[in-house]
């Protein structure tokens, strides 16, 4: 047992850090630092820079563009990227539909879709949740009825993040109503330009537009866009929940925000006394650092266990990553909100001519605070994660 980095691991982190510092466009870095929304072009630009380096889908199988790194090395990569303020690649493509396609798709689908995910030529979004199917996802009602060479899809998907940019949506649809609800679901890839697809933006409490309703009205989907077998979609969705869990802890990003919180606490204050000089502020930050350090090691433990078991470990520890990761992110956003004090109330946006992001840092912390409430809701709410943990504890 040894927590120290090997020389090779340390050199790798250095290499990634250097790369990001040299290659990440300053305008994107600034937006990340101040939690401003990235444009579609920003993400495409960064993804292509990564792709050129070969790192856009480093976690994929080598055959499809992956780097063949160990899970620990992959986690180090993500950690450094996030600490250096590099945007994550579009997870709906690289961490969700991509892995589904290379694991369960046929050769034609792999050749057709995977290369276009790598360089973000196709923007993917996720069609899982529905108005009546949230945590109880299996109760989804969107139907797909076979008609000749097509499926005809009818229903409504919601909370579709960045769906406004999307070329494609991967959907869970009901193909059999006669069986147990989990057994009648299929995994379908739908072209967003198909007639009958309507996207309605939803404004969130932070004022932003990142989520949408997607209405599917008699949308004809070629049957060749079915992934895997009909009525096996639930298994594929569960596969997603059991894989790619390490990104969800966002340890690297939280390290960066905690550093930022310290920096701001040192700078902000009144009458020459910094907020950081207040014992309760220091303690709050220190306590979050403790929890984050623990989470970082928990994450490496989960990865190490997964590599040992060949990916077959279903330790409830994976759910800790989601629960603690989200709680820590939220708690940091609260510290920032409190540091900003009344300044958090003023919305200073570039649209109003406020381009000095550094001066107006406080103007985004309230938005971030409001927006971050989502992290304990999405990806299997924290209540669902606790159910999962308890179920496994009680079964053992």
């Amino acid at each position: 047992m040894d927590l120290d980095f090997t020389d090779e691991e340390a050199a790798f982190c250095e290499e990634v850090r250097d790369f990001v510092r040299k290659s990440l466009p300053r305008s994107i870095r600034q937006k990340m630092l101040f939690n401003r929304e990235l444009t579609k072009d920003d993400l495409i630009t960064w993804t292509r820079i990564l792709d050129k380096k070969g790192w856009a889908v480093s976690h994929w199988p080598v055959e499809w563009g992956g780097m063949g790194w160990s899970p620990v090395k992959q986690a180090l990569f993500i950690d450094v990227m996030q600490q250096e303020m590099a945007p994550d690649t579009l997870s709906f493509g690289t961490s969700m539909v991509g892995p589904i396609i290379y694991t369960f798709g046929n050769e034609t689908q792999k050749k057709r879709f995977l290369p276009r995910i790598v360089n973000l030529e196709d923007w993917w979004c996720q069609g899982f949740s529905e108005p009546q199917a949230g945590s109880d996802l299996a109760s989804l009602r969107t139907t797909a009825v076979r008609d000749g060479d097509d499926y005809v899809v009818n229903g409504q998907k919601t909370w579709t993040t960045l769906g406004q940019h999307a070329d494609w949506i991967f959907c869970l649809v009901r193909t059999n109503r006669e069986v147990k609800k989990q057994a009648g679901i299929s995994f379908l890839l739908i072209d967003m330009t198909s007639p009958g697809v309507t996207v309605r933006p939803i404004q969130t409490i932070d004022g932003g537009y990142e989520i949408n309703d997607v209405f599917l009205d008699n949308v004809r989907v070629p049957a060749e866009n079915l992934v895997g077998e009909e009525n096996r979609g639930w298994d594929y969705a569960k596969f997603l929940l059991q894989h790619e869990r390490t990104g969800i802890a966002r340890v690297g990003a939280s390290k960066a925000s905690l550093r930022r919180a310290r920096e701001l606490a040192e700078r902000e204050g009144r009458d020459n006394s910094a907020r950081l000089d207040l014992p309760h502020i220091r303690s709050r930050i220190a306590l979050l650092e403790v929890e984050l350090k623990a989470l970082e090691i928990t994450q490496y433990r989960v990865l190490s266990e997964e590599s040992q078991s060949g990916g077959n470990s279903h330790s409830p520890a994976a759910s800790i990553l989601k629960v603690k990761g989200s709680e820590i992110q939220q708690a940091i956003s609260e510290v920032m909100l409190d540091l900003a004090g009344p300044h958090a109330l003023t919305l200073l946006t570039p649209a109003d001519g406020h381009n000095d992001l550094d001066r107006s840092w406080a103007g985004t912390v309230a938005e971030t605070y409001l927006n971050w409430r989502k992290v304990s809701i999405y990806g299997g709410s924290n209540e669902i994660q606790r159910n999962i943990i308890a179920k496994q504890l009680l079964a053992s």
């Binding site: 047992m1 927590l3 014992p279 930050i285 403790v290 350090k293 623990a294 800790i320």
Partner: protein, 382 residues
């Protein structure tokens, strides 16, 4: 980075598990706890036979030369089984001080006896006014013709009543709060001028208040760490906190295991209480608290070796903060979910909670270490 225990560590774990299963069934442990000494020399001899008394001592002195991860593995099992034997007092504290600060002659004189289980050590360090400040020492060591004369009062000396040799921290020069001028002295437990008042701690373990009234110590019994005594004390304290973190993990793991078992059997309103989501989510949170502490126990074992005292101190403080918070949460919930039976001395979970509470307070609780951390530059300083 490697987070798996190796073959040797696995074997060590199994042998301690086997020993504990033999020595500490509830009734047998109760007999020891209620005995006059509160621990068992006979048991300690069995520890020594397995090599545990010399776990961290170099082979040249009769030990088995293990490091912090082996200590972690052992402590987790001792925690789980609530072993009251003097592993912390003798091996980690007394043994640690002699290993780090003793000269060759002192090591040869003392360490073999430690390893064979015949020599019991204790660390007479803490004073009433000091709380957890390691350098707050009022006990004086005045120079005499052929040595030193100790005068002062020590508190919470773990296993202090039974120790054959006390390692005593005393001030050679300077004021009570000076970081320099501290010395460590080897004093026989029954030396003239030493009076020991034994008592039990909240978890039933033996400890002592000790008064040193003009106790003469020959020069050869001062540990040899000129100018670095406090650094040695800090290192040994840090190593001990890392070990206590592992013990705490064992305590919590056992509490959670017992609680899961209990809620699966206990029926109210016609069904197992495990079927209630209020209970399930509590279990999930206990598990999260436990695993976060386990991660920090691993972290502490690793960083306990760090030679940079500041980095090591911050890491250890962070580990203790997480440990204390987890111990409190898991312990309180374990009692809550057990209901009435958790309140009694007739059931192990209450004893585990007592130990959890004691581990929190040993070498500084969450408040103390959070203050240390908060004063520093942060765990993730760039």
């Amino acid at each position: 980075m490697d987070l798996q225990i190796n073959e040797q560590q696995r074997l060590l774990k199994e042998s301690v598990q086997k020993l504990a299963a033999d020595l500490y069934p509830f009734e047998k442990r109760e007999a020891i706890r209620l005995s006059e000494a509160g621990w068992s020399r006979d048991y300690w001899a069995q520890y020594a036979e397995l090599g545990l008394a010399g776990l961290t001592v170099e082979e040249a002195y009769g030990g088995i030369g293990c490091g912090p991860f082996e200590t972690m593995v052992v402590m987790e099992e001792l925690g789980r089984s609530l072993a009251p034997e003097p592993f912390v007092a003798t091996v980690l504290l007394g043994g640690g001080l002699i290993r780090h600060a003793g000269n060759e002659e002192q090591k040869e004189r003392l360490l073999p006896g430690l390893c064979s289980g015949e020599l019991l050590l204790a660390f007479a360090h803490l004073e009433e006014q000091a709380r957890h400040e390691l350098h707050d020492i009022a006990t004086v060591a005045a120079k005499t013709a052929d040595g030193y004369r100790l005068k002062g009062r020590k508190t919470l000396v773990l296993h202090g009543s039974d120790a054959d040799v006390l390692v005593v921290a005393a001030r050679l020069s300077g004021d009570r709060l000076d970081r320099d001028g501290i010395g460590l002295f080897l004093v026989a437990g029954d030396a003239s001028g030493v009076s020991r008042q034994g008592h039990r701690t909240i978890d039933g373990r033996p400890a002592a208040e000790i008064v040193f009234q003009d106790v003469d110590v020959p020069s050869r019994d001062m540990l040899d760490a000129p100018g670095e005594t406090l650094a040695v004390i800090e290192r040994v304290a840090d190593e001990t906190i890392a070990a206590l973190a592992a013990e705490g993990v064992g305590v919590m793991d056992e509490m959670l295991k017992m609680t899961i078992e209990h809620v699966g059997l206990r029926k109210q309103f016609g069904t197992e209480i495990a079927s209630f989501q209020a209970i399930q989510h509590r279990l999930a949170d206990m598990y999260i608290a436990l695993e976060q502490a386990r991660s920090m126990a691993i972290y502490a074992a690793g960083i306990g070796r760090d030679n940079d005292p500041e980095r090591r101190g911050a890491g250890i403080a962070a580990a203790k903060v997480q440990l204390c918070r987890s111990l409190r949460y898991v312990g309180q919930q374990a009692i809550q979910l057990h209901g009435g039976i958790g309140m009694t001395m007739e059931y192990k979970v209450g004893h585990l909670f007592q130990r959890a509470t004691a581990i929190e307070a040993l070498f500084g609780g969450a408040e103390h270490h959070l203050q240390t951390l908060a004063a520093g530059g942060g765990l993730f300083a760039a």
